[in-house]
Point group: C2
Chain length 239, copies 2
C-alpha cells in the first residue's frame, strides 16, 4: 500500500482531490479530498473515505447519515494528483438530500451577465445531466406537463405517453429499422440514428412503467460487471 | 460576472478545482484548477480554460494542441468550492493522446497489496468506465478475442457477432418482450430486465457496424439538447 501511495503527488497539505462518480449512471456525486490514510482506508474497506479540511479529520461518508458510497474502483490521473472513486451510492450523496452535490448551474444571459440557478429540491433541472439522463429528464417533464391544461398540439412524447398501443407499435418498428441498417447495409450514420430512435422510444416506454434508466444500468452491471461474470447471463431465461 | 464569482469559495491561492465531464458519454476527462479570470473566460468563450499552478498562468485547453473542449454548461457544488465543466471535447483530452487523463487503476490484490495498472495506450481497460461504456468495451473485447484461436464454446456475444441473422432475430424479439412488459403489465423489475436485454443486443448490433454509443448519444443530444428544440425531431423522417 505504502509503495502505491508514494507514487501519487500529494499537495503540500498532504491531500489529493477526489471525485466521486456513480458507476451506473456516470453522475458526478461529490468532490472532496483524501490524505494517505483516507485513500488507504477506501482501498481496504471499499467505502468512500475522505479527509475533512474544516474538521481536520478523516471521515467515512455515511458514517453518520448511513448514506455510504460503495467504491467499485479507484483511479488516478496521468500526472498522479487527482483521484476518482467510482462507486455505488446508498441513498442521496449531498447533505441537503439531493442526489448529487452539483445542483447549481451558472446561467449566462444574452447580455453576458451570469447568475446561479437551481436548488437542492429541484433535482435534475440544474444538475450536470449527461445526454441519456437529460433525455430521461425531458421525457419526465413532458409527462408532468400533461397534468397541466394543454395549449396547442401535444408533443410527440406526450402522444406516446398517452397511447400505449402507438408506443409499443413504434418500439417494435424502430427495432426493425435498426436491424434493417445491418441487413441492408445502410451505413453507420443511419445505424446511429435508428439506435437513437429505438433508445428514445424504449425510454418513453420505461417512463410509462416508472422504471428509471438507473435500474436498467444496474441490471447490466450485475450481468456484465467487474466480477468477470460471463455474458451468458444476458441470455433471456426462456431459452 | 463579478457578483457570480464572488459567491464561490476560492482557496487561499484564489483557485477552485474544476472537473471536466463529457456531455454525451459522461466520461471524466480531466481535472485542473481555475482562478476567477479562467472561469470568467470559460463562461464567455465556452472553451474550457484553466489556471496552471506550475506555469502560474491562464491557459485555454487546446490553444496549442487544437484539442479544445467546448463547454455546454458550468456547475458549482453545494458549498460552492468545486466546479464542473460539462463539455464536448475535440479530439483526445490527455497530452498523452488518451481520451481521458484517468487511465491508471489502483488494483488491490487478494493479500491487500495495491499497485497501479493501465497506461495511455490501452484506452478503456483501466479507465473509469461507467456501466454502458463498460458493456461496450466488453463487447469489443469479445470481438477482438474472436481473432484469436478459440478454446471451448464461444460466448453468447461471440455467437451474436458471428451471426447477423441470429442477432437481428434477437433484437426484434427483445423489443417485443419489452413491449410485452407494458402490454401485459409484467412489473417494473421485468421491464428493467427486458430493457437491459434489448440494450445489450442492440449494442452488439451497433458493434458489428462499427458504431460507438458516443455517436448515438450525440444524435440524441442534437435532437433533444439544451437548445430547447422540441422532440418532434425524434420522429423518424419516413412518417
Ligand atoms: Zn492531474
Ligand atoms: Zn453536497
Ligand atoms: Zn427532476
Ligand atoms: Zn427509425
Ligand atoms: Zn464542495
Ligand atoms: Zn492527462
Ligand atoms: Zn479499449
Ligand atoms: Zn428478453
Ligand atoms: Zn418508422
Amino acid at each position: 500500500m505504502t509503495a502505491y501511495l508514494d507514487t501519487l503527488r500529494w499537495s503540500k497539505d498532504g491531500l489529493v482531490p477526489v471525485i466521486v462518480q456513480h458507476v451506473d449512471t456516470g453522475e458526478l456525486l461529490m468532490q472532496a479530498y483524501a490524505d494517505r490514510a483516507a485513500l488507504s482506508e477506501t482501498l481496504q474497506t471499499k467505502l468512500a473515505t475522505f479527509y475533512s479540511r474544516s474538521r481536520s479529520e478523516r471521515w467515512c461518508k455515511g458514517e453518520t447519515s448511513g448514506n455510504f458510497i460503495k467504491v467499485t474502483q479507484v483511479f488516478h490521473d496521468c500526472d498522479r494528483d487527482s483521484i476518482i472513486y467510482l462507486g455505488d451510492p446508498i441513498g442521496p450523496t449531498c447533505h441537503t438530500g439531493a442526489r448529487t452535490c452539483w445542483f447549481h448551474e451558472a446561467a449566462v444571459s444574452a447580455e453576458g451577465s451570469v447568475h446561479a440557478e437551481g436548488d437542492h429540491k429541484q433535482h435534475g433541472s440544474h444538475a450536470p445531466l449527461t445526454t441519456l439522463l437529460a433525455l430521461e429528464h425531458t421525457i419526465q417533464q413532458r409527462k408532468e406537463a400533461m397534468q397541466q391544461p394543454q395549449e396547442g398540439k401535444p408533443s410527440w412524447t406526450a402522444r406516446l405517453l398517452a397511447n400505449p398501443e402507438l408506443l409499443c407499435k413504434k418500439v417494435r418498428e424502430e427495432a426493425g429499422e435498426l436491424c434493417q441498417t445491418l441487413e441492408e447495409n445502410e451505413g453507420t450514420e443511419r445505424a446511429a440514428s435508428e439506435m437513437a430512435d429505438l433508445l428514445y422510444h424504449a425510454m418513453v416506454l420505461l417512463n410509462v412503467q416508472g422504471v428509471p434508466m438507473e435500474d436498467v444500468l444496474r441490471v447490466l452491471r450485475q450481468r456484465f460487471g467487474t466480477s468477470g461474470v460471463e455474458e451468458k447471463a444476458a441470455r433471456p431465461p426462456k431459452q
